[in-house]
Symmetry: none
Subunit: 207 residues, 4 copies
DNA sequence: CATGAATGAGGCTTCATTCAT
DNA sequence: GATGAATGAAGCCTCATTCAT
């Protein structure tokens, strides 16, 4: 779970020119985040959002082109933040395994902190599949690069880098789903250590 | 990806008594499967389904209580079929690793064959979260049991069994997503072998 | 104002299969006709229409794709009926001038009878300009043909046939507008006779 | 197409006192003219107008009471200008037919030059019918007067003057519609000459 | 069993207008 | 004079569901 920085732009969003506008935009996107993560995209109406944000229905459309725009906005924001947090956390790691260790920790913390927000990305497949793929491709690309470099240094076994990366992403996602999303807990220390041992040395003996 | 058998019932479904009825039910659930997997649950209307099934809108409600019923029906069916296929495939495996090897293969084949059907389960989180958790719990429970037995025989390292199981499920899901769902290919042999080596012996060397 | 027959089809309309459906469709299009002609297209809402037709809002969309569809439907219907009425009325006319005489009469009667309906076509420019042009082109094409034949027989002076046709259409429209639409009367006999004399022999003497 | 002068006032318009204000008013009414003639009154929003005029939405209401006010403003302006141009052009005509000749020419030129502006008046029926009738009544009244005088001098045949006037207006409108509005051309010389011959000597021979 | 017309609540979105700055 | 954020009513349309035939 190690990724690089990146910037994003959205033409679908009308950036406010005044302070008041900025506050309103923030209120709306916060309300959307809450509701999407609690009830899902399709069970949240614009009225729900504006009601929770305490503004009139029309106000939504001052800032967002349509319903999907907030969704995309939140996903992009999530993507950005998560990748930055991991990049920073991982900065001083000596070995690739260290980086994975710190990366997984950061990821789980992130999911814990933005529990709802993270669920949103899972729904992107059914709201905007293109966005969803872009998100994971972007994450994977940086990740693969890191793995390749580590392989060059002899720190990673002879595995297809992309395969390995999707394995690691899959692991982090399902562990996060199981403990953080479902149980609303942190990943138990014992579980975390098991995962680390697993990705380092595997699980099965032949005989 | 090794699971045990099981039976399911659905009171929300009115099983037809005549042949004609059985055909109609089949047409409807097939149409629903196609559409859900292509456009997602929320972007598919009952009218879409009945139109594709070539029946009148009202006919839908002869067999299914409501829209969610077909969805549940499909998920249960998927769950049932998948678990049975894996159980059968894995029956004669000598070692646990063998069972994993065969289990993953079977799983990927299943996803390839029921590409659409498998996407449906991912959406269950946003349609019927309870169902979604039940599905994975059921899968995981049997899986955990198997791992524990293998650990008792010394075939599996000293890892938290549940953690391991969710790692393995995560891996299979994301690899399936990446190659089968996104690329509509089979998982490349090289990737498959990498995964096997990874789950067996891990990926990282300390120094 | 002499035009030929023609058939029209509209894919935007869902023809009902039952009697009840046919009645409903009729109720809706009648209500739309009334309201469009009274308040104009843009000041009439679907709710207005369904309310007047005594059906639920959703019912509208069983029969018509959207708001513009009823409008087009009415224009096509109008076009069809008018042209047929004129064609029939004019059938046995001996001279071209006779045909014009009868054609103008029929046209004014039609506008009187379908006062509202005829106003609708004037609005088409601002609702669906393509439709509007098609309407007049269709009317004009048949008309021009008739004039050319009459010219060949020496019954019409040496004028550009298309120019003459648009003059005659313009006359009928503005006379209809002035007396039928504005005053809600029939065109006074004296006026009618003046028009006939005018189109036959003109109005100005050089010196 | 011969009309007299006249002045108009509008209480719905707040005439600006400063230069800046005059410029702003001009920008707004120019933008409105463009948009109304291109997309029609009902498909043009205040925001469209202010956006095109490069001012804030609120600014609109400094000058105009509401949306209809600009529309009326433009129609009055059009009416005023057109009638003045014709009056001037026609001033020195010797015979009534000469005046018609020059009047039609001027009218077609006007429509060509203010293509959009002229379309606006056609829409007035559906925006503000009273305004529309006033416009044509005003045009017609002066016109009728002119015809009557010419009849007194023996220059015009024995026709109902009002009927004749509406015929002539109808002709000019439909010819303008057909060639200027639809084709965006000038009225072809041949067409123009045909019209002149038609209004002078008619089109039909009895046998 | 099957049909298909009918329902009506509710969702998304637009837009004329107001008003505090 | 000008701004631009905010309003909220109202419009168009969808769709799960019911029911008479």
């Amino acid at each position: 779970m190690v990724v690089d920085n990146e910037v994003f732009v959205l033409e679908e969003i009308n950036l406010p020119k005044t302070n008041r506008g900025q506050e309103t935009l923030a209120k709306i996107s916060k309300a959307a985040e809450d509701l999407f993560s609690k009830k899902g995209y399709y069970n949240t109406s614009i009225t729900d959002i504006t009601h929770k944000a305490d503004v009139a229905p029309g106000t939504f459309y001052i800032y967002f082109k349509d319903k999907k725009s907030v969704f995309r906005f939140l996903v992009e924001e999530l993507s950005h933040t998560l990748r930055r947090e991991i990049a920073i956390a991982v900065r001083d790691c000596k070995t690739r395994f260290d980086a994975e260790y710190v990366g997984f920790r950061t990821f789980f913390n992130f999911v814990k902190k933005h529990r709802g927000l993270y669920k949103i990305i899972w729904e992107a497949q059914f709201v905007d599949d293109k966005l969803f793929r872009e998100y994971y491709s972007k994450v994977a690309d940086g990740y693969i690069e890191g793995i390749k470099q580590a392989q060059a240094k002899g720190e990673v076994g002879d595995l297809d880098p992309e395969a390995l990366v999707y394995c690691l992403i899959g692991i982090s996602n399902f562990i996060g789903l199981r403990w953080v999303i479902w149980e609303n807990k942190e990943v138990p220390e014992e579980v975390f250590e098991s995962i680390m041992r697993f990705i380092k040395a595997g699980a099965f003996k032949d005989k």
